[in-house]
């Protein structure tokens, strides 16, 4: 897991998808879901916190408007938050995911975040407090889905 979180996007890839994003925006005044996702996928793997935050914003938007891709967005939302050490939000996204689908890939990310967050706690550091407001919408949806599923199973 560590290796995945430490891997940094090659600069030229980030720039390529940034250009694609900007180009579509300029041409059509809007950007396709595909391009938004590709750009966000690069941003959350950047070495810079500001890039990661920007990636998180795009993924949050995608998770709202494009339910079909939601598992990808939620995973990378957890991933991006983990990379900027925003462990509480990272964990929330993992849990939202796992309520809908049992998944080892997400479970190992969750375990990793827990471990890191415990380490930080042990060091007497306050974990970024207060869940971001934006989380609410997506989590609400996730929980709603999970409830539906439970109903079906019962």
């Amino acid at each position: 897991m560590e290796e995945l979180l430490n891997e940094v996007v090659p600069q030229e890839d980030l720039e390529r998808f940034e250009k694609k994003f900007a180009h579509e925006l300029e041409l059509d005044g809007e950007v396709t879901i595909e391009t938004k996702f590709e750009y966000a996928f690069c941003l959350v793997r950047s070495r810079y916190t500001n890039d990661i935050r920007k990636g998180i914003m795009i993924l949050e938007e995608l998770a709202r408007v494009h339910p079909d891709g939601r598992r990808d967005y939620i995973y990378y939302l957890a991933f991006g938050n983990a990379r900027i050490k925003n462990y509480s939000d990272g964990l929330k996204y993992c849990r939202a995911f796992l309520e809908i689908e049992s998944n080892d890939q997400v479970r190992s990310l969750e375990e990793y975040i827990k471990k890191q967050s415990d380490k930080d706690m042990a060091k007497g550091m306050a974990v970024a407090g207060g869940a971001a407001l934006v989380l609410g919408g997506i989590l609400g949806l996730g929980i709603a889905l999970a409830k539906n599923k439970q109903k079906r199973n019962n």
Partner: protein, 215 residues
């Protein structure tokens, strides 16, 4: 994997590529855990696994990047090809379309890796003989034409899984021995760990522990 510092001499980077559902993650899981996952969800982006193997009395740590085959990840997972010493290219013997797409996977691999990258073709799900759509012979011919190593394997039974990873490592090691790989170049996909366990009493040297940041 708990381990004493540097209990290996080399690191080789591998990628696993191929259409979605051909069994890439199951192959990796079978190799690292010796278990089969019957209900494996689609990989999101990329997964990672490692295992230490032995070639010629040398311990080699394989770092394996298992990419998502879903189309929406195709463009972005190309990042992971760079610096791969080995590429396992997988198709499903029971789905001809996954075989037909091999030339496009091969083109990507050739374009994004270095000329010495060892490419190993795996025809997975060899346990499903009754629903086979691709013969062994035609795949073998394709491999020969393109200079690829080739085996049929089954992530379910484990047949030939180990062999594919090990054969690839042997070929990479051979390339090192014959001086075809520049170990100082990051795109070779190989790192040499100079300390040789057994010869010196190392131990104060920690493996690159990026995790130890004090923040």
């Amino acid at each position: 994997m708990s381990s004493t510092p540097y209990n290996y001499n080399y690191i080789f980077k591998y990628i696993i590529i191929g259409d979605m559902g051909v069994g890439k993650s199951c192959i990796l899981h079978q190799f690292t855990e010796k278990k089969f996952m019957a209900n494996c969800p689609h990989t999101i982006g990329v997964e990672f696994g490692t295992r230490i193997i032995e070639v010629d009395d040398k311990k080699i740590k394989l770092q394996i990047w298992d990419t998502a085959g879903q189309e929406r990840f195709r463009a972005v997972t190309r990042s992971y090809y760079r610096g791969a010493a080995g590429a396992l290219m997988v198709y499903d013997i029971t789905r001809r379309s996954t075989y037909n797409h091999l030339s496009s996977w091969l083109t990507d691999t050739r374009n994004l890796t270095n000329p010495n990258t060892v490419i190993f073709l795996i025809g997975n799900k060899s346990d499903l003989e009754s629903t086979r759509e691709v013969t062994y012979e035609e795949a073998e011919e394709f491999a020969k034409e393109n200079g690829l190593m080739f085996l049929e394997a089954s992530a379910m039974t484990g047949q030939n899984v180990e062999e594919a990873f090990l054969e690839t490592a042997r070929r990479i090691y051979q390339n090192i021995q014959e001086g075809r790989l520049d170990l100082n170049a990051s795109e070779s996909g190989v790192q040499h760990r100079p300390s040789q366990p057994g010869r010196t009493s190392l131990t104060n040297e920690a493996p690159n522990n990026k995790d130890q940041c004090s923040c």
